[in-house]
Symmetry: D2
Subunit: 346 residues, 4 copies
């Protein structure tokens, strides 16, 4: 039986090439077509030597495929995706264009009027662990942002169960690849090396995404989230540290409470192939190149606060890997197909 054909729109960014790497190694699908704005006409392996084994030319237009990944920037992605949906093709959109349910947010956060607001509710937010069954039957999956993936997975168990107060602090540390392949001063090696900085203090575009999902998990009272992203000098990885006060009368600020908390997380994620609740504070390195999210929940006993740490590879679970995870469900394949590579250490 022939394999399902899949394609990538705009393969030339980091999410795109990571998708290409993962799809080429996927046993059940065939990466049949890739497009790229600037590199059209070139062999994929000439632009990205590590992909030289993939015998594809970057094209201006996508060939016929059964499922498409769009790795276009926001606003541009919707334009590409809408015609595909009209033709009945399944789409995993890596951009932000279908993640937010409220069309007005696109104007305020991304500065454009959404071209197809009616699709926003139809699109499934592709945080697989929270929307598994919807993803499986979706035509359009909006693949989550890298920060939201690490942050929501870290907080979902305690937000959903109301174990914390609504005031939530999310402090994330991202590798530089999260800023993309486009050249910029902040991603110049000599500037980013031996440097750390916070950014987007007036509101990062991933904030409404985090708020939307946490609110769906606990509508009343809804979470009040402060999110501060930082760039640190490594290529891959996001470490997220979340803070919130324990809700009164639920979990105790004690050693016993810590164990209960841990058990809550273990239970919450017990069937998840890609979420591991770990016994020690995790290292981003332990997710380098694979699709895992490692989570460590604990309690600051002195202050009665939850501290929650999560680690992901921003280009895998935070982008291409989760996209493949979603694709697997959409195609009726085992969710872990093609995603079982161990992290590369050291």
């Amino acid at each position: 039986m022939s394999k399902t054909k899949v394609g990538i729109i705009n393969v030339t960014g980091y999410a795109g090439v990571e998708l290409a790497r993962l799809l080429y190694q996927h046993p059940e699908v065939e990466l049949a077509s890739v497009t790229g704005r600037s590199a059209a006409g070139q062999k994929l392996g000439n632009v990205f030597p590590h992909l030289a084994s993939i015998d594809l030319t970057i094209e201006a237009e996508l060939a016929d495929v059964d499922l498409v990944f769009s790795a276009m920037p926001h606003k541009e992605s919707a334009k590409e995706v809408i015609p595909l949906l009209n033709r009945g093709i399944k789409v995993v959109d890596i951009s932000a264009d279908f993640r937010l349910k409220d069309a007005a947010e696109y104007l305020s956060w991304y500065g454009f009027t959404h071209p197809a607001p009616q699709l926003l509710n139809q699109a499934v937010y592709g945080l697989t662990e929270l929307y598994r069954s919807q993803v499986a039957s979706a035509q359009l999956v909006a693949n989550p942002g890298c920060y939201p993936t690490g942050a929501i997975l870290a907080l979902a168990p305690v937000v959903k169960t109301g174990l914390i107060e609504p005031e939530i602090i999310i402090d994330s540390k991202s590798g530089v690849s999260g800023a993309g392949r486009t050249l910029s001063r902040q991603t110049h090696f000599s500037e980013a090396n031996e440097d750390a900085a916070a950014y987007a203090l007036d509101g990062h575009r991933h904030l409404p995404e985090i708020v939307q999902e946490l609110k769906l998990l606990h509508p009343q009272p809804s979470p009040s989230v402060t999110f501060v992203p930082h760039i640190i000098p490594m290529t891959r990885g996001i470490l997220t540290t979340g803070y919130a006060s324990l809700a009164p009368g639920k979990i105790a600020a004690s050693t016993k409470g810590k164990e209960e908390l841990r058990q809550l997380y273990v239970d919450f994620y017990k069937d998840e192939p890609f979420v591991k609740v770990v016994e020690f504070p995790p290292h981003t390195k332990h997710t380098w190149g694979n699709n895992l999210c490692l989570i460590y929940p604990t309690i600051d006993i002195r202050t009665g606060r939850l501290i929650i740490i999560s680690c992901i590879d921003n280009l895998v679970k935070g982008a291409g890997g989760q996209a493949v995870q979603n694709m697997n469900l959409m195609l009726g394949l085992p969710e872990t197909t093609g995603l079982q590579a161990l992290a590369i250490y050291p």
Copy 2:
């Protein structure tokens, strides 16, 4: 007139060598003697080639000097310092041994019974900006820890003035040199490179120091602090991000409030040579190799929270530089003497 002679006990750690670098370049003192446990008998420049211009041999016992820096590990440092104090010698102690006022804390946080609790109140906590006049007349200065320096300077203006609620989150990101020169798995290049991790989640030894000082700034209600340190893959620098809710009725969660907050910080530090309130989120790189602390205060208008960022070089303002700053005051020299080097960029 001959220069004041100074010495360093245990020059062989990173704080010690940084002190040696700064003191050698200091125009008003003479680095006259250095000791080191493992390297005694060797030329300083043989062990540390960048110090080859300093014509000193690492000795087992310190020669007679007028002021001593102790860069011994905690517990060992007190043993070295006490006899010096008895002989009337001025001391800047880089270790933690005289930072905490409550002797009981040494047992609970450091695991030893303090040998001279009567000295704890006599010692001046050497966060120069807060204790300038006391430092000037002190015989014993307890040089602050690297994390406390960045955290307390960041929070002092709002804690002292009661502008924030007592619930404070401090999320710090440190370069690897903060873990010292001693070999360990976590500081092995292949482990630390391309990695980020939180540690000491059950309580870092710098926590009681931060709590002590913030409490002195605002005794009632006293701050409730959660402090989580992280190691990120760079050699030098600490970026601290602080979070707290604005106290009601003081500063508004608005653009105008942000400007008032900024003005408060500018005023608070207006005469400080080594604290700069900056207009954009600062980068640790902009402090690389110098004694500055850069601070950026802002408000998350959506949630009414203060966000405060500070950057220091952990080995300069966080260790050796601040020690020299304190020495300058103790010797009646202008505070900035020998500390005016610009950061090295890129």
Copy 3:
């Protein structure tokens, strides 16, 4: 049919864990037993969290397996391997203990008297591309050193065909993981980061291995090799730059000569799955995590010299990957089984 059982002696170094990663993902063998000196009794995943999916305990003694990888240090490895050979078990030795044919070299380069010199000629030097058929029928394969792998593959085509003069310069730049997992000052992050240095200028232990193999390729006149290794601040990868004068009357120092040279390399390696002759100077990043050796041959037309560049991942083609490649041949499996992962970029 049950899978072939394999084991790793001393899994706790970087070569050992990389082998474990590769073997766990190998479809035709089962990693059935691992030993480790210091970590015996612990779960593999507790010591190496990225291997948590492998359900094995690190043992003091290896269980019965069909093929063993020894990742012991030199001298110790021979002791472990000899009894296994006597029991008829196949062995791939990652250490240097069976790489050199002349037992006297062990005394001069490694400082010990080889315990089983008679095995040295029986052992096959596991540079697969040069000894494929011998590997296939070997009981004992001596897996090459990381530097020799990159250097010999780079030079073999021109040495074998006599296209260069015997005076050969090999300048190699290695990531820090090449120095192993053992703690040392030179591999401390703060020392190795933002640093580059040459080492072993009086003769690195990989030199006799390189010389032995190049000499076998061209006995008269035999190559006169200067080899200088350098440590550069990255975790993985070896870039080797080789230099030699073109032998007179063979390949011209011209654009046409460059093309002939390139064609010679393409032909030499045309059937090799893991050696790629590339059209631009290769980057170590393009081999990150996979088993490829990328080679770029060119001519400095002004001086009539060959310049040859090769890149490998020192832990894959330079250690664990090549060991699996050899194992595949020894077990009659397709050579590329379990080794087809693309490099991870960026």
Copy 4:
């Protein structure tokens, strides 16, 4: 007495900002004016926060100063410099525009016809150690390239004295800042981190500069130089490894010869404040931020070859620091004025 006023044309590149840092800290000159193409009108400290203490606005046109540093790109620099020379102003040109004596080389290596070939012989090549007296009386000093500085200082003693054969290999490893502040794919953090590569294999623009100077040191037979630069993942530093066969009958390939070689270097550089002949292979880190060139000469006894290592900070001795060193001489100041900072370690 008022200080000498100096200015920088095009302060906005890495050489320019490093000059600004050094000149601001220089006790005998006043940095009075800086220009910058893209940033004109902005405060220097707004563009480069580490320079915030320098109260200067980046201007479109340079104010009147006594000595000018031009940090313009090649071809552009000559245009700026020629009118200044006509007005009698002293100039240190950081660009390549006056380094080569043969105007024809500008066409072949840089692709432009030199606008003032008559100035080429008038210009002094500012490798201070070789041209000290000429620099002192020069109006125009052509500051050497970063690679030539490290390479020529390493080789001068043996080339001048004819101790090596003319066939010379120079293998250099440079930090990424050597590629400048301009954005490019190769200097993007995610591309350059965890990567090493050779480049410019058909001839780097610093080659003619190296050849010119080595030839002046030993005209007959003149050196035949192969030069291969590499980019390695660090910000600052160049490590150069040079190789050449010992000339027959001069220095023996023996331990005694090594000592003679070392003594030759010690003698050659005995009065040099910024060249240190070291006893162990040097680390680039030991020059981080200062003006030293560290040199380690040795002999590969097995092959009778000289191996010579040098380390510099490419932005200090390789650019801004050497420019200040030259300025000091041109202004009759002690050569080391303002350049005595120790390297920053770790």
